[in-house]
């Protein structure tokens, strides 16, 4: 399903998403994030555990309302899923959820669940077994129930179901975390290829930076509710500019057999219910300056006072 487009396929502007629990402080999980995904583009979204990636992804699918800001898919604003009316922005958006255990219906055979996706796409030529085969599973698995599979097998099934619907925007929230190393790269490539084939956009959320590097055209780095750096993948890899991005890339453990434990970030993991003033990264930043404690670097593509854009390029 390809929509006629002028702007980017997905556009997120200054998005704020909050979790409210009675008697608790408001958790501002997404605190003014911006992001774009073009048709035919793969964007890798990475960041610290708890920084708001899943909350953002759920907001994109209309599963969580925004407190402020804007989400446009194919030019249509996304509003929280209503009771009955289908939101035009959301037809064509598919998500592979972070938890492959709870995203499949335990009481229905996996073949039937994949058939739902095929029906959404109006695809009568493909059978659920064909889709299973494409994600590297035996055709006969279609007749089994989710609990009969290992963690990695379930994850492939969730991917198969999402791909069957031929989305125009595919969101994968840690879609390959349960796969073994050789399968990860293969399934990630498959997601990329199948999305590209149909001109879809792919937002790929993953902690596996080597796979992100492999399949993403651009990456967006998130820290405590904000996107702090974006750029073409190769550029960010070769020259990470935000101090958080640097720390992140430096902590990738190497499979060299040497037994070296990577460095963790100094200081405590921040609480989104009580974020630090100024730059949100300043209490843990080795390069923090006075201005960082007072003023938030609210600009891109690198939200850091060390990388303030030239005044001329500020709009």
């Amino acid at each position: 399903m390809i929509m006629p487009l002028t702007g980017p396929l997905l556009s997120v502007e200054d998005l704020v998403v909050e979790h409210r629990t009675p008697g608790r402080p408001v958790v501002r999980a997404v605190a003014g994030a911006g992001l774009q995904v073009a048709a035919g583009e793969v964007v890798g979204l990475v960041g610290e555990s708890g920084c708001g990636k899943s909350t953002l992804a759920r907001a994109l699918c209309g599963l969580h309302g925004a407190a402020s800001g804007r989400i446009l898919v194919g030019g249509h604003p996304v509003t929280p899923l209503g009771l009955r009316r289908r939101n035009p922005a959301l037809t064509g958006v598919q998500m592979v959820f972070q938890d492959p255990y709870s995203s499949l219906n335990p009481r229905r055979r996996v073949g039937a669940q994949i058939a739902d996706g095929l029906r959404t796409a109006g695809d009568t030529a493909t059978s659920p077994a064909d889709v299973l085969e494409r994600v590297g599973l035996p055709r006969a698995f279609a007749g089994r129930y989710p609990h009969e599979f290992s963690g990695g097998q379930r994850q492939r099934i969730a991917i198969a179901r999402a791909l069957a619907a031929r989305p125009s925007l595919l969101i994968g929230d840690e879609p390959i975390s349960a796969l073994d190393a050789s399968a990860q790269a293969q399934v990630a490539r498959l997601m990329r290829d199948l999305a590209m084939e149909s001109g879809a956009g792919l937002l790929f959320i993953s902690h596996d930076l080597s796979v992100v590097r492999l399949i993403a055209d651009r990456i967006a780095v998130m820290y405590l509710g904000k996107v702090v750096e974006t750029g073409p993948t190769a550029e960010v890899w070769a020259d990470p500019r935000h101090p958080y991005t640097r720390a992140l890339l430096a902590a990738i453990p190497s499979p060299d057999g040497a037994g070296v434990l990577p460095a963790e970030l100094p200081g405590d993991v921040p609480d989104p219910a009580d974020p630090p003033a100024g730059c949100r990264f300043h209490p843990r930043c080795p390069l923090a300056m006075d201005v960082c404690r007072e003023r938030e670097p609210d600009f891109g593509p690198v939200a850091c006072w060390l990388h303030e854009p030239e005044p001329s390029s500020l709009s």
């Binding site: 979790h19 629990t21 608790r24 793969v42 990475v46 960041g47 610290e48 555990s49 708890g50 990636k53 909350t55 972070q98 938890d99 709870s102 290992s150 963690g151 990695g152 097998q153 975390s177 349960a178 796969l179 073994d180 190393a181 050789s182 399968a183 990860q184 490539r189 990329r192 902690h207 930076l209 080597s210 590097r213 492999l214 399949i215 993403a216 055209d217 073409p232 993948t233 190769a234 720390a247 992140l248 902590a251 990738i252 453990p253 190497s254 499979p255 060299d256 057999g257 040497a258 037994g259 070296v260 434990l261 990577p262 460095a263 963790e264 993991v269 921040p270 609480d271 989104p272 219910a273």
Partner: protein
Amino acid sequence: MTAEPRAAALTIEGLRVSIGGHDVLHGVDLAVEAGRVHGLAGESGSGKTMTGLAVLGLLPHGSRASGRIAFGGRDLLGMPARVLDEVRGAKIAMVFQDPATSLHPMLTVERQLTEHMRHHLGVGGREARDRAAGLLAKVRIPGPREALKRYPHQFSGGMRQRIAIAVALACDPEVLIADEPTTALDVTVQAGILRLLRGLCDDLGLAVLLVTHDLGVMSAVADEVSVMKDGLVVETGPRGRVLREPRHPYTRSLLDALPVPPAGENSP
């Protein structure tokens, strides 16, 4: 628990498991020593999780297990359920691959952490709460005291995974079976968790069976590495040897499959 080195804390010999008449483990041999991390890698569906579940007597309904699982001079297979209950959770703890198995959705994090402690360690309410907050801080949960009052669904995926690790560590186990415990973590938080596990091994003599498909993680913390394929351990050895000079073709294929794009090259 003492820091003096002990012999194998847990020994698995010739473990066979079938589920509904279908064989999934064909004679698994593994030894985990006190104060050491034994890494277990292998193909998806090769039986890593079933090996861990067999140790705890938690195999799926309709399974049969044979062989020997020796812990503290006793065979855990065929141990009466009542005795196994005492061992399970207190002396041998598991972090499940599926975080939903580790955490009860309707109970606060505090209940889940302190219930085990009060039952197995016999500590009072206040002490249990202090220990629980300390454990949450160790697994890098922000605002640990406040976090105690929340429910699992109010945390992110990676936070739930870390809370499950805290629950497993609550009773100072002698053996920890950790099934893909860092898959939901970014690399800096993961580094913190690996350092925590390494520290517990070095300081308290904890024995860890670490199931992971991430060979970087394996390389960072494992002392020994075993590789499984089709219900069998196909290779075991010291970390450096297995990762640098793999002997089994499957291990070699795992290493060859690592995505390492040439420096400076763009994505495909």
